[in-house]
Amino acid sequence: MLKGHLPLWEVFVRGRRGLDHKHIGSLHASDAGQAMKSARDTYTRRQEGVSIWVVRAEDIHASQFENDASFFDPAEDKVYRHPTFYEVPEELKL
């Protein structure tokens, strides 16, 4: 009954100056211009944003491994990357 739908886009919105763009959802649109207009109407009806990015969903590469935990694992045993690892005189408030 239905013909093919329009391509999928992911939408990122900067809430206000000084903040990062944040993923807010997705939508279907024929091209970037339409995606931009739809993103405005769908995701910023109450001044939720001052800037929008739209990206074709198929252009996003996501980390996805059999075992995500082992992909991020190398960070786990390097506790010396955190300031709390070090013992320094407390009174110096370093």
């Binding site: 239905l2 013909k3 807010i24 959802g25 279907h28 024929s30 769908t42 009806r45």
Partner: protein, 315 residues
């Protein structure tokens, strides 16, 4: 913690009140359960535009018209948030739309009732959106990340829906005798169908027990319904309108209002397609789809032409 088995990891995430995210392993039944619930929810938002949309052209003032337009546009937005969240489960928008248009997918049966007077627009905002809020606040804590995030966004927008409805009722309830009667009549017609929105009693709902275990649902149908009744009684009192239920009374022991039996036969009949507006609602969706197809086609062929000419220029 690293789990060697997928099920163990999934269970641990649920147990720890963390969220399941799109590409995580999940039991197939969990996925299907979510697809059903989220697409039904999306369809309800979309079909829910129709009863109120019916009054946009006849809103009594420009202020009311602007408010109603804005509310109905929000409902379209809610549908879109939910479809896009459901798509992360690997179901396509076309499939979901198609299931709605062929009458396979369900949507909230409340929207199969007609909006006969302007007071119905008030009653819908006050009661139907009020009930939806109770349900949706609970779903902000659902275990599937994209669904929970969509709910948070939706809840932020819903409270204006309820307040504008209550305000309409207030104006009518303080108006002429005829206006007050119109408000009372709307309350009489919408009260029971609104209570049905929360679904069958817990004892009758096998689906919902599994959903609670998986934390897709966080509170049972009866709990949510009770919460709605408890909060709505004083709102009706304040309007000077009477809730059409002779059994409604405060139960000191339970700390809740008792209320009369729900007509589940009517509920089943409307769900199965026997409501006053089932056919009209689906017909409106089909027409919108068919008559809007040329716009999508034109947009797509424009985009294709455009991207080809971009390539030509580069070459």
């Amino acid at each position: 913690m690293i789990f060697t088995d997928e099920q163990g990891q999934f269970d641990a995430i649920i147990e720890a009140e963390e969220k399941i995210e799109p590409r995580d392993w999940m039991p197939e039944k969990y996925r299907l359960n979510l697809v059903r619930q989220m697409s039904q929810h999306a369809h309800s938002e979309v079909v829910g535009q129709l009863p109120e949309g019916n009054w946009i052209g006849r809103a009594p003032t420009l202020r009311r018209k602007a408010i109603l337009l804005s509310k109905v546009q929000d409902e379209a937005g809610h549908g879109l948030y939910l479809y896009s969240a459901a798509e992360t489960l690997g179901v396509s928008r076309e499939e979901m739309m198609n299931d709605l248009l062929i009458g396979k997918a369900k949507y909230a049966s409340i929207f199969n009732y007609p909006t006969l007077t302007w007071a119905d627009v008030g009653a819908i905002g006050w009661l139907v959106d009020g009930a939806a809020i109770v349900n949706q606040i609970s779903l902000c804590r659902t275990s599937y990340g994209p669904y929970a995030r969509a709910m948070v966004k939706i809840c932020k927008e819903e409270s204006f829906h309820m307040r504008q409805g209550y305000e309409i009722m207030q104006v009518l309830a303080c108006g002429s005798a005829a206006q007050k009667a119109m408000a009372q009549d709307a309350l009489n017609r919408w009260w029971w169908p609104t209570l049905m929105m929360f679904g069958p009693h817990d004892s009758e709902s096998a689906n919902s027990q599994q959903s609670m275990k998986w934390k897709i649902k966080r509170q049972s149908n009866d709990e949510l319904r009770q919460k709605f009744v408890d909060q709505t009684v004083k709102q009706a009192d304040h309007l000077g309108l009477a809730i059409p239920d002779q059994d409604l009374k405060w139960n000191e022991e339970r700390g809740h209002y008792d209320f009369g039996p729900i007509d589940w036969e009517e509920f089943a009949r409307v769900v199965k397609g026997g409501g006053l507006c089932n056919d009209a609602r689906l017909e409106a969706r089909r027409t919108a789809n068919d008559e809007g197809q040329w716009v999508k086609d034109a947009l797509m062929s424009y985009a294709e032409k455009h991207s080809k000419s971009d390539v030509d220029q580069v070459a």
